[in-house]
Symmetry: C2
Subunit: 357 residues, 2 copies
């Protein structure tokens, strides 16, 4: 194949950060071929109210108006059923739950779900989506660490789904075969995002290599295989959420004994070509449009309408002989980010002339 | 307890490197309370002949004469049965096997053991010790990665032990419960070294933290627990081999997308106080002398002889109220090393006045 056309790619899990850093990041969503970004709320302070989410959305629109931002709230005690209804009216799409302390800016994360049942009930009624960071905190006493934190979380997923069968739930950035199986076994209201980097990496790739280190960490080769298989099968409840999570370059590259490197892999500016490249590597290129657009749009009720087909963003990828070298980074003022796959080659690029984005 | 006396601590697995770097490192063996160092042969080029080993030993003795260096050869096709007999006559103690590509300078490592059976047979006859780096190379196709590379190696250990029951074998730097069980199940000719850092760390500690990254990587909390339990039980075939593996500080602290950080944790200069501190943390301080001296000496036939008791090196550790802060590093010319536990506190220090080292 010399070119591929993808209608309206949608990234259902992105970190666009805040302040000056956002100015660098928001335009990279489009650069990577996407015009829909499902925006994570883990800012400092976290986005816990409708007002905050709308203000954040306005800020992002000002930076890059040609992206549709779907906003989320950070699950916390502030999120009362009343606030849920208010959020729904204001166009907020989902609520993100972070277990305490497992990733960037998650110190305010939750410890148990039962206290949120009234909130979940309101969300179910209002049809807001619950986005789960599916890991439990490490605990040496019960042998929980970053490697099994996701499988250990899955009983929570099942329990919430059983209690709220109509609540739409997304298990975010799945990394294990166990997670894939758990989501498959759930009903049609439960979906799962998969990142680009987790279909490329295993634990060996981040052992000693800070640039491939993220949370959840990439797991065993067989886990990666499970992610690839479910994508290749074209299962409609498994779709892209990049979890593109930039950090200033120096916080990634340098570790002192007192300071670990930041967790996160940045894929936004190369996302669609990268996903095409990776899917092709395991024979799933024909699933590209489903994985990056239609499946997620369907679950999130953001389907394209053919009556305004002319306005539908369309990305054309063209194959590059010998591959396109991914550059070493981008800067904006004092901000610097270095993308995943930096210094390596990708077989596809966005055909700017033929694309409508 | 306010003080502890340990007779003749012996570190049965140390990397002393070569050239200018050795000048910084060899004195650190004594600084850490040890006067016996079992020296690894993975130099560039590897130490594969008796001549090389003797030259290396002379070099180390010149730098730091007050340490007993037990020398090893690097298992390779150069190691013929004749060379084994020559090595034995020259006082070489063991032969180290590295699977290809799994750790620092192991590109010349072995791929299968059967071809070495004539060598092993000569070693068995001559009573040379076989030191096994117990990991198989990663292979995504069979789901082998750094996390299960050690359990996947254990069938090799069993097979060699069955074929050569009188050959003394040491499984080096065990990190898993599976390895502990496998060694326990072997006969009295099979022993196991355990590092200081592997009784402190789990995977969470090196995820994103280059200074705790080493090969084999630290595993699950339950694996660490197994190491602690076997030490606490006072099993005589499990003893200290620090695998103290220094790298120039900049190669540890900095990772670029193209260059991972070096694998290795450096414990030599703080070793005995560190081990005391760690053993005390899980109630095994009474096992200190066995773990760091008598068990290993017994297996290696380097027992102390009481008839020359006056000459026996003796280290006295004293407790420090509030703990001793581990310094940030040492330099020698352009060489800089930063130790494990840098910036943290240890409850024990060597009492220089009362120690004979």
């Amino acid at each position: 194949m010399a070119s591929i056309t993808v209608k309206a790619p949608a990234d259902f899990h992105v970190h666009l950060r805040q302040g000056g850093f956002s100015k660098l990041l928001a335009p990279h969503v489009r650069k990577g071929g996407f015009t829909l970004a499902y925006v994570m709320p883990n800012l400092k302070p976290p986005v816990t109210t409708t007002e905050q989410a709308l203000a954040y959305k306005a800020e992002l629109q000002k930076i890059e108006p040609n992206v549709e931002y779907l906003m989320t709230l950070y699950l916390s005690p502030d999120l009362t059923p009343d606030e849920v209804r208010k959020a729904k009216k204001a166009g907020i799409v989902g609520v993100k739950s972070y277990p305490r302390g497992v990733t960037t800016n998650s110190d305010g994360g939750i410890e148990s779900y039962e206290v949120y049942y009234p909130t979940f009930e309101a969300m179910e009624q209002e049809d807001l989506v619950l986005n789960l960071h599916g890991e439990i905190p490490s605990d040496a006493g019960t042998n929980v660490c970053v490697l099994n934190a996701e499988p250990a979380f899955l009983p929570h997923l099942r329990k919430i789904h059983e209690r709220f069968p109509k609540l739409r739930i997304v298990l975010e950035h799945a990394t294990t075969r166990a997670a894939v199986e758990a989501v498959k076994a759930c009903g049609p209201t439960v979906a799962c995002t998969i990142t680009a980097h987790h279909i490329a990496l295993t634990v060996d790739d981040w052992a000693g290599q800070a640039w491939n280190f993220c949370k959840p960490v990439a797991k065993y080769p067989d886990d990666r295989q499970a992610l690839r298989e479910i994508i290749k099968s074209g299962h409609p409840r498994f779709f892209l959420g990049s979890d593109s999570a930039p950090h200033p370059a120096h916080t990634k590259s340098t570790a002192t004994p007192a300071q670990s490197c930041a967790a996160g892999v940045y894929t936004s500016p190369i996302l669609l070509p990268l996903v095409a490249h990776l899917l092709e590597s395991f024979g799933a290129l024909d699933r590209l449009e489903g994985f990056v657009s239609t499946f997620g749009r369907s679950f999130y009720k953001r389907e394209l309408h053919e009556d305004n087909a002319a306005q539908v963003p369309t990305v054309v990828l063209k194959r590059v002989e010998g591959g396109e070298l991914i550059k070493e980074g981008w800067t904006e003022g004092e901000q610097e980010v270095i993308p995943f796959w930096s210094g390596k080659k990708i077989d596809w690029v966005i055909d700017e002339e033929k694309s409508i984005i």
